[in-house]
Amino acid sequence: MATEKITPPVNLYVLVLFGLILLSLQLMSSAMQESSQLSAMYSWLLLFNALGSVVLLILVGANIYSLVQHTKRREAGSRLTTRMVSLFVVLALAPAVIVFYFSMQFLHQGIDSWFNVEIDRAMEDALELSQASLDQRMRWHLKQTQQLTEKLEESSENQVTLEIENLRELSGASEMTLFSRQGRIIASSSINPGDILPSLPDEHIWLQLRQNGLYVAIAPVHEEELMVRVIVTVKAQESQYLQALYPVPVRIADLADSVEFAFVRYQEMNYLRNSLKMSFSLALSLVLLMSLLAAIWVAFISVRNITAPVKALVKGTQAVASGHYDQQLPVIAQDDLGFLVESFNDMTHRIAQARDETRKAGFEVENQRAYLETILANLTAGVISFDAVYKIRTANQAAYRIFHVHVNQFIGRTLLELVESYSELAESLKSIQRLLEQADDIWQQRIAFLGPNGRQELLCRGTPLFSQEGLRVGAVVVFDDVTDLIQAQKNAAWGEVARRLAHEIKNPLTPIQLSAERLQHKLADKLESADAAILQRSTRTIVQQVEAMKEMVDDFSEYAKPSKKQTVDIDLPCLVKEVLALYALKSGVRFKADYETGLSMINGDPVSIRQVLHNLIKNALEAIGAYGLVELSVRGVRKNNTDFVEIALYDDGPGIKEEQIEKIFEPYVTTKAKGTGLGLAIVKKIIEEHGGAIWIDTNRKVGAGFIIQLPACNSEQL
């Protein structure tokens, strides 16, 4: 069993980067404390965080740009990613902005609350109080020093040197010095005996001293001590200045310093109020910006990781939809989506298996079908299958050979739709269609039609097809061209008749004839003239009838033997002209011939064709009698993609009765008193043996008309 490992949506590097961002923000926050050691690095930390924000902004911008491009290209999963990221941003942004807004409000209000007019005034009053206190002290020390000068005015320089020590101790000054007007030290006393050189006034003090005659000021000494410097003029013969330095008591100095510190601090804070607000706002904004940008960036990464399997699934589904069933997706995580991906992989695997099996089965079916088609194509019988509504579904090559029609062109059409295009097949097609619709069992019918090679006779066998539920789902019709078979049967039958006639009838005829002639010869002289005349008539009749019977037997023999003996290419118009030339001298009969130029030759036995023409012209002449018109035309026609040479022969005789039309070409059918009735049968036999056809033109209302069509030699045959 595979162990399931749950992987976080973001990798370790992102977490480390996120930690660094938080650390940087924390350092910046710490640096904002004045007392912090990081305070000196505040600017750098600020810059670092600002740069971090810019980097994050670029990352987020690049992700947004990439997402927009993917969405524009309608890539798989882009819209889901957009929705998820948008949702995440909105969810993260809304509370963050609200918190930021109120934090800013609290921050500004909090800073503003540090300062107010009362505190301002109190601080200023405190400072003023300190200054007033120090001023009072200065004035008191000035007055004290001025009183001391009165004592010094009465003393000489030598006495001053001694007395100044007493005066200093008396006044409490830390140092007392007497200067001449030029700044020469006359006498000096200090509380610290180590201080040899007294504190000397600077130029500014001298300037003020010369202008005002006195100087009093508090000056800081060292860091935290204050000293009151008083310089007054001593009224003596030569102007002198007494400088006394009074230390401000430590307590007062501390208090003053404390007040000043507080005042300065307050004043500084008040001055920095706006900067402070801006600084805190900047830091807060930076924190918010970095947090949000980092969150959005992590959101992009997370959503990308989450939607990666979905994207892969969409792409996989598209691939499956386009027929690539071998699609296998990598299983990134063992979560719900991972389970989905595994299921998808399982599904595609099974589909691929099913596809392979179906394909294999299809191949087998196709092979079987091809095998059957090969068999069907090589069958001599035509096979046409029909669907439930009797539209042609399939047809084999033999069907084409039989009908001389590309039946494949009519797949999906009914037989009735072909009637208009193939009028010669009209009756046959209608008959077959009727049988297809009506027959519930195997049916069989012989149909005949005039094909390009003449009359064709077909034996059709139809089988209706039923589904397992018993519904009619179509039919199959098998055609066998039995023209040759029937013709062969006929020929064989008539040949047998002729042979029998020759054998059984013709043989006795000669002895009969000879016997009759012998009777005539032997008895003619012995009988009375009347009897002799009777004998002569009888024997003559016998001889004549025997001759007639011989002719009849010869005709049968002629009919039975094959007509196509020596075939050559025949120029039919020339042949017709030659035959007509034999009848041209016949008085009272007009011949009207019409020949088309440029006709193709036909292939046949010229003797047989000549006999056909003789037979037909003889028939016409016998029909019209002494006077009449015989029209004859030779022209080329094209039927069923085959070229024919057509001979049409018309007379203006009495014509043929309708009941005789169907049987006129059968042996022993004649309308004449004389004749064997084999003439037209022989004509038809010869024409059919030449692959042609002959029929009576029933459209002709005057006289009789025969139309013969013989296949023309095509160039390939030539």
Binding site: L127, Q131, A219, E268, S279
Partner: protein
Amino acid sequence: MVFIMRVSGRSKRFRSIFYNTLLMCLLPFFCYADQFAAEVTQAEIKLQGQSYVFSTNIVYNLSEKANDALQNGVPLFWNLQVKLQQQRKFIWNKTLLDAEIRYRIQYHALLNMYRVINEGNGDVYNFSTLSAALDLMSVVIDIPLMVRNELDPKKHYLCAVKVNFDRDALPLPLRPIAYIDPQWYLSSDWTLWPLKK
């Protein structure tokens, strides 16, 4: 090898807008960057006895904001930097001396005076006027830098002096502003001159 980059019209227009905008943003900095900068008007390192001593005159120009901050108790710091470098032909100069005098000026509200402190030696000077306080910082006279033997007479030396306003010593809320506001650009440029031996 020459690379020819074909730039589309749209890209050119975008670049033009970008650079114009950048120039407009930076123009105030270029104009005012030196307006309040300190200026070294005179500087000299000369041999006095066996020692080299340094003297300089500096003019400090306090901006309105700097003055305002000072009046409100914000201490301001300047570092007077002096460098002496040995000039070398093929590699970078060698720094022999990098001295610094750090001044701090602060206003005392209680006594209404300005205090200047030399952070190096701890000397404290009090002045009743700002100009007097700045005058103290402006003049440096004969500060010994190094003894004569430390320099090779055959080599060439370069002197440099600069007054650097320490913005990082400002109160923290002022620092970001001090980095972007030209009124806080109070440092001078480097002044360079060859050492006369």
